[in-house]
């Protein structure tokens, strides 16, 4: 045997072993759900790198349940390389010894358990990555031996339709299938012909018809009924003080209530300011229901999505001018491309966080939870690889104090933190020291899980005002600018009042009144939709909200 083909030969051996397990029971590449455990035991080898697809929306849950049931004597010490650790099964495999090492990005709902298991030494952690970082490593030093992925349907040759939640699938398959790995896809149904081919069948080795459809959680739906006057005030300041000021057309929004409020103010407050067509036209964004009014009133030119959102399918299908859709009409999302778009092609990232320190570092980690990173760190960072100019980018660059010949100047990505000074239960957002640092010390991480580093942040917007960190010239100014918008938190009350007034004089801090905004005008009547039902009406009945968001 040629020593250059050892991986290829190993792959063939795995596939052969897998086929042997389903001999006589399979049709084409199709494997019945009750053979999942046998299949996995046949194709996995101890120490394999395995990507068990866990996205924001779409979970390979049937394969996850199968993996948990494998015999740890046969399948053990796996190295899991996956973006999302969100299902209980994703961690169960570490308790039985099936898996040992973990490299991941996001662990939202499992954040507390993952912290306990790291602390208890049950998980050997590689690193917590940003999405693009992990995807990049799939092609360099974390290439999976086996990928366990999820789709909506497949044909018997393995041609796969992912549905609107394409998300990570193409990236995972690309790295695995073209580097001698084995790809197993679970699908909700086997069909004669898929609506569209998201992944060609020659990259899929086995298709499992799942015992039940994969579950999708409506993660990006924010009920307008829950929006507060404070969030509306902050949104007004952001629109007037940042979107209008910098003419931000290309952007990404976080998933909090603050940015949802901005989405709902565009057709009302934004319209009144004459900003239609001038701002917020091109988006890297999941299909947020709260964006419907802005789309319907002609604000939005196009939206590229990381994944989809529950209830938005029919609406997207009827708005192909706005969204990326396939020949079948349904949404085509792609996390890797959308993250790249957010990083390089957007002039602004704006989102919320749980904690900000005096240097502007932010984190969503609390002392007992390792939530990992969502989309924020890639998009909420200044890409040094960028070369194309835009007015927004250049203006921010000038404010950052570029010197020398203008043709050698770098622009700056706007990275905006939109926060209320206090969170739920009167927990202050502004802190002396991030909980992430304490957590890192406790569980032995070399790097504290910082969502966005202070030197990437350009603005912080709170109900007290906007701090423009681009204009700060030293660390002390930065600190006072942050204290100056930190409200009645201890950090805020610890401000040097004279210095803060000086910063205000220089436009580094801007209060609502400096922007011509009367806080008492921040009223819910400004929202283009005040309820989920309003969103349904805006969509002409195309948006179909899940039952838990209905009150009719």
């Amino acid at each position: 045997m040629n020593e250059w083909r050892r991986e290829r030969a190993a792959r063939e051996a795995r596939i052969e072993a897998g086929r042997a397990q389903v001999e006589g029971k399979a049709e084409g590449k199709v494997v019945p759900a009750d053979r999942v455990v046998a299949l996995l035991e046949a194709i996995l080898r101890p120490g394999d790198r395995v990507c068990l697809e866990g996205d924001n929306q779409k979970q390979a849950d049937c394969l996850a349940r199968g993996l948990v049931q494998c015999d740890p004597a046969r399948v053990h010490d796996l190295h899991m390389v996956q973006s999302g650790v969100v299902l209980p099964e994703h961690l169960d495999v570490f308790e039985t010894g099936i898996a040992r090492r973990l490299d991941y990005s996001y662990s939202g709902p499992q954040g507390a358990r993952i912290a306990r298991m790291l602390y208890g030494g049950q998980i050997e952690l590689g690193a917590v990555h940003t999405y693009l970082e992990l995807f990049a490593r799939y092609f360099v030093d974390l290439t999976p031996n086996v990928a366990l992925i999820a789709g909506v349907s497949a044909d018997r040759d393995g041609n796969l339709y992912t549905g609107p939640n394409t998300e990570d699938t193409p990236t995972v398959v690309e790295a695995t299938a073209f580097k001698n790995g084995v790809v197993v896809a679970q699908v909700n149904e086997i069909v004669d012909r898929v609506p569209r081919v998201d992944i060609p069948g020659d990259r899929i080795d086995f298709v499992v018809e799942a015992d039940k459809p994969f579950y999708v959680e409506p993660l990006f739906t924010r009920d307008p009924a829950a929006m507060t006057e404070t969030q509306i005030l902050i949104a007004m300041m952001a629109i007037k003080g940042i979107y209008a000021e910098y003419g931000v057309r290309r952007l990404n929004h976080g998933i909090g209530f603050g940015t949802a409020a901005i989405e709902l103010l565009l057709p009302t407050y934004g319209e009144r300011l004459g900003l239609k067509g001038e701002i917020a036209t091109h988006w890297a964004l999941n299909p947020h229901p709260t964006l419907i009014p802005a789309i319907e009133s002609g604000w939005v030119r196009q939206v590229h999505c990381f994944g989809s959102e529950v209830g938005m399918d029919r609406y997207i299908r009827e708005r192909p001018d706005i969204f990326f859709t396939g020949a079948d009409g349904s949404l085509r999302s792609n996390r890797a491309f959308c993250q790249t778009a957010g990083l390089y092609a957007c002039d602004m990232f704006i989102g919320a966080t749980l904690q900000i320190d005096l240097a502007g570092h932010s984190s969503t980690v609390t002392q007992s939870r390792v939530a990992g990173f969502g989309g924020a760190p890639n998009m909420g960072s200044d890409p040094h690889g960028r070369r194309h100019p835009s007015d927004t980018w250049m203006k921010a660059g000038r404010e950052a104090g570029g010197v020398g010949d203008p043709s050698l100047m770098r622009g700056r990505k706007l990275v905006v933190q939109l926060v209320e000074t206090f969170g739920d239960g009167l927990v202050p957002t502004f802190v002396e020291r991030l909980d992430a640092m304490e957590l890192a010390r406790k569980i032995g991480l070399e790097l504290a899980p910082v969502m966005i580093y202070g030197d990437d942040v350009t603005h912080i917007v709170t109900e007290e005002g906007i701090a423009n960190l681009l204009l700060c010239r030293d660390a002390d100014e930065r600190e006072q600018a942050i204290r100056g918008v930190a409200g009645y938190t201890e950090i805020g009350r610890g401000r040097d009042r004279a210095k803060v007034e000086e910063l205000r004089g220089r436009g580094i801090i801007r209060r609502p009144e400096d922007l011509g905004i009367e806080p008492l005008d921040a009223d819910r009547s400004l929202l283009a939709a005040r309820s989920i039902k309003d969103l349904v009406h805006w969509s002409g009945g195309l948006y179909e909200p899940p039952a838990k968001f209905r009150n009719w």
Partner: protein, 102 residues
């Protein structure tokens, strides 16, 4: 319940003739504020009942800023707090002062 009370000197009466106003609702994270024009124009008092203990210094700062900004001379202000955040308190106080200025 924790009871707090503050008394501030003010330069003169709050403009307007409204004798009384009420704003807000006692609900989680919210509060109600009753404003009555019953004191000397050079005085403003604020009495608070709150279920969240230990935030006296924050209340003090919020009230001081409000008095400096709105100059609510002559007002007796009474607050039933439902655990509102300081920014909400501040917003409601300003709403209340505006109602009295009619």
């Amino acid at each position: 319940m924790e009871k707090l009370s503050f008394r501030h000197a003010t330069p003169g009466p709050l403009p307007g003739r409204k004798s009384q106003a009420i704003t807000g609702v006692v609900a989680s994270g919210n509060l109600e504020i009753l404003l009555e024009r019953v004191l000397e124009p050079t005085v403003c008092t604020v009495e608070i009942e709150t279920p969240i203990r230990g935030y006296g210094d924050v209340w003090e700062a919020v009230i001081a800023d409000f008095v400096a900004r709105a100059r609510p001379g002559g007002l007796r202000i009474t607050i039933n707090d439902g655990g509102a955040r300081p920014d909400t308190v501040s917003l409601r106080l300003l709403q209340g002062a505006r109602l009295m200025e009619v």
